[in-house]
Amino acid sequence: MAELPQAVRGFGVTFATIFKKVVTEQYPEQAAKFPPKPRYHGRHQLNRWADGLEKCIGCELCAWACPADAIFVQGADNQEGDRHSPGERYGRVYQINYLRCIFCGLCIEACPTRALTMTNEFELADNNRADLIYEKQDLLTPLLPGMLAPPHEMVPGTTDTDYYANKITGAVPEQAVQVDAEQVAP
């Protein structure tokens, strides 16, 4: 059998490609089929304890660890009747500038209470700079069932050490009474 001409043999590659698997990810349409890896560094979130109190203690270690100076934290003291986290202090102001953040995760390593972790969310693009500075209310996780929105007191009979030892399983009725009273008062 005579050799096929080079030009015709070249089409063999084209023909064989028809039977190959398509590598294109149909991103917006089938985004769920191609999720990022579980440990992907996406948008941050501020976690809560099981009763709804915030884990952030306003220590600013994340801001100090940040190589891009993207995080701004201002702590404040927990007052009687105005408690946001167990222990002495909480993060009153928490801002992450996503136009500076490089998603390196050093803030997560620095956090002593695992208050700051990262999600897999990455669709952050926006048309102005101000909206890309995420405030505390944008970063806090939503309240799960069994959680109460702070400010409220700690679970009666416990200290902050019990919180850090992860002994709190959920909000108790006494805390709910406090939250209701605060909502009625002003």
Binding site: V23, T24, E25, Q26, Y27, P28, A31, F34, P36, P67, A68, D69, F72, Q74, V93, Q95, N97, Y98, L99, R100, C101, I102, F103, C104, F122, E123, L124, A125, D126, N127, N128, R129, A130, L132, I133, E135
Partner: protein, 184 residues
Amino acid sequence: MGLEEALPSGVLLTTVEKVAGYARKGSLWPATFGLACCAIEMMASGGARYDLARFGMEVFRASPRQADLMIVAGRVSQKMAPVLRQVYDQMPGPKWVLAMGVCASSGGMFNNYAIVQGVDHVVPVDIYLPGCPPRPEMLIDAILKLHDQIQDTKLGVNRKAEIRALESAALTAPATLEMKGLLR
């Protein structure tokens, strides 16, 4: 845009706007303007796996005269800024700018004298994309958000009124220095 200006703004113009928006977003050709590591992700977006050709954007034009969108991919040094502006000026309107990555958007981690702290000091930016570098999905997401913006762009007299309203709003808006409150 002679016809639209002669007509009163109404049903006809809004239909024309929709058609024009659809045509504009359907063949948005980016200019090749990769400056740093973000350009690698931009090239990956154009490749087979992410395939920007699905949105009619596979042709990265080497000439700004044939481009509609400038994807500023990477940090812009002070020395590059006039070049960036020249490339932008050479693009024919309507044109859009996408600041890809934190360096182009705000200077990112390079908060120093060598880097322009955000390309919006040099050119008007339509969409900011965080990430260092953003993955191709993030770029595609930003592009799709820009497509929505382009689809809603007005034409003729409506566009002029829109520009006037935006100008006056920008003039009365407080400068960053005058902003009070928690924003640093």
